[in-house]
Symmetry: C2
Amino acid sequence: MTKRPTLQDVADAVGLSPATVSYALRGQRGSAETRARVQAAAEALGYQVDPIARALANGRSGTLAVLCGSTRDTWHRALATDLVRALIARDRRALLTDADGDADRERALLDLLAEQRADGLLVAALDPFAPHWEEVARSTPLVAIGDRLAEAPSASAVVFDNAAGFALVVDHLAALGHRRLLVLLPERPSTPDRPAETSVREAARARGLTVELLRVPPAGADPDAPIERVAAALVRTGATAVFCLSDGYAFDVLRAARRSGLRVPDDLSVVGFEDVEEADLVGPGLTTVSWDHEQVVETAVTMLLDALDHHTGPSVAVIAPRLVVRGTTSRPPAAR
Amino acid sequence: MTKRPTLQDVADAVGLSPATVSYALRGQRGSAETRARVQAAAEALGYQVDPIARALANGRSGTLAVLCGSTRDTWHRALATDLVRALIARDRRALLTDADGDADRERALLDLLAEQRADGLLVAALDPFAPHWEEVARSTPLVAIGDRLAEAPSASAVVFDNAAGFALVVDHLAALGHRRLLVLLPERPSTPDRPAETSVREAARARGLTVELLRVPPAGADPDAPIERVAAALVRTGATAVFCLSDGYAFDVLRAARRSGLRVPDDLSVVGFEDVEEADLVGPGLTTVSWDHEQVVETAVTMLLDALDHHTGPSVAVIAPRLVVRGTTSRPPAAR
DNA sequence: TTGAAAGCGATACCAG
DNA sequence: CTGGTATCGCTTTCAA
């Protein structure tokens, strides 16, 4: 196995200096004729820049990173892999890392990525309130996905119009005659903007619905405990519909319902706040709010590449919700 | 923002040469006393090795890579992210890349990973027959997952005992009284060992079942076409059970069945050859063959790290199947 | 337009 | 046990 050719080899081949070859190869200098000659020689030798040497020399690694708060969650897992795929499809090298639900690890990975000279970051943050985001965003183009990063004005973001999503769900359920709504939301606040709690309450009030809030730990932490609590809450409150704000919990609720002998959607409407691929096959029908996956990915990637290539400043894109109705009961509360 | 301290800075601080410091920090040399002093100084300065400089100097990047044939497939996606998570959990840096169903890209990514000096590879190969695997495996510890790499004796592998899986499925269906089996398998052969086709036929013959084979394109390629073909094949052959070998097609079959007005499992048994997280919620019940995910991940990661740390030679681990029965009809063929 | 030379931040060989 | 010093392969001033 013969060694890979280096810049020097190419230089020797064309009788120029490595510097000149370097510039020529990147199209930064040289007469058209020189460039062509260099290109040809490089091609002939099968020369490829060594990304590591380049990174050491100029501080850029040529690699973008996707940092995911937790790939345990189906939707985030799909998002993360789609982002990587989109980047690769645009001929960028991309790597995916996963904080696995641990905020400390999120921080550690961030340091790691800095060390690795990641040129840009796509982040589904675990803790959007963490102060360190601004420091990172200041030195590296960064696009947050899902929620704005509270303390990082330098970061771009692709955010979901949660309030609009809530309104969509509440409208839908109200129109079907539901009066009591059980809302599952994450234990820790996650949106830097108006708290989900407030928005949901407000939307519900506008439609005359009663809301019961149930805070659940992040998905995957302890899969069983919350199911029991959900089942209990359903019985206790007599809610006829469950709205799952915490990503990934709609499936758990379906499991809980099944255990409790509740039929979905005949006895209970379940609405998720995301739209995973398998939702159409799950149970007899799970209604979800969908944030057009492709649009999210496309927007985020475009933002990042723009920032990278054209040094555009930070910006925020808002993704509108769409309701995908796959089964909700309209049985009025009196009938139960 | 002050510059990160370098090895030189630490050396200056303790009055030693960078070489000595480098060795001391890695615990390769130096009296206990020297090491302690160096450690302390490094700590005090907040020194962290620069992985890029290190990679350039010694050819190792300190990063392991997971190369996935296609993250479009739910099961592979889960596998890939789980592998990354497992590696990170063991304090390794890991990156995930995705060939997205394109064999050429698989090859290109492999080159890329070589350039990036990946220290080890975990691979769910798209094309296990490709000759280039051996070249890669020869220079980098490599563990293949799912199938052996036909031409790469230097690579380790975690393989699924497909034949045993087939037997499990066929036994199960035969016991329920099924006589006609529709088997979906990938267009391209994927197992270097005995072809799936042969194994399935053999297992079926042993139980007196008739087998209809239907070759389908890889998941995600053209989501609609195969569904129609499946529906047609069901009607044409009068099969009472479908066995999906091609990963990810069980869900599509359920969709096809629904469109055709077939009820699962009352009219049709559907068996998948993997066990995705959501299988228990899908439809009224999807029976699957399960390859203990955790065991697969654990085994693969352990193999890779052993090869890395102890220079163990290539080995092969076989994962045994388990049948997860979630709903199959026992309606005898005569009743249809 | 081109080239010589100084980094970038470590590692590893080889003397002392 | 230590410490010069030559790499590793490329980028980038700065002169020519």
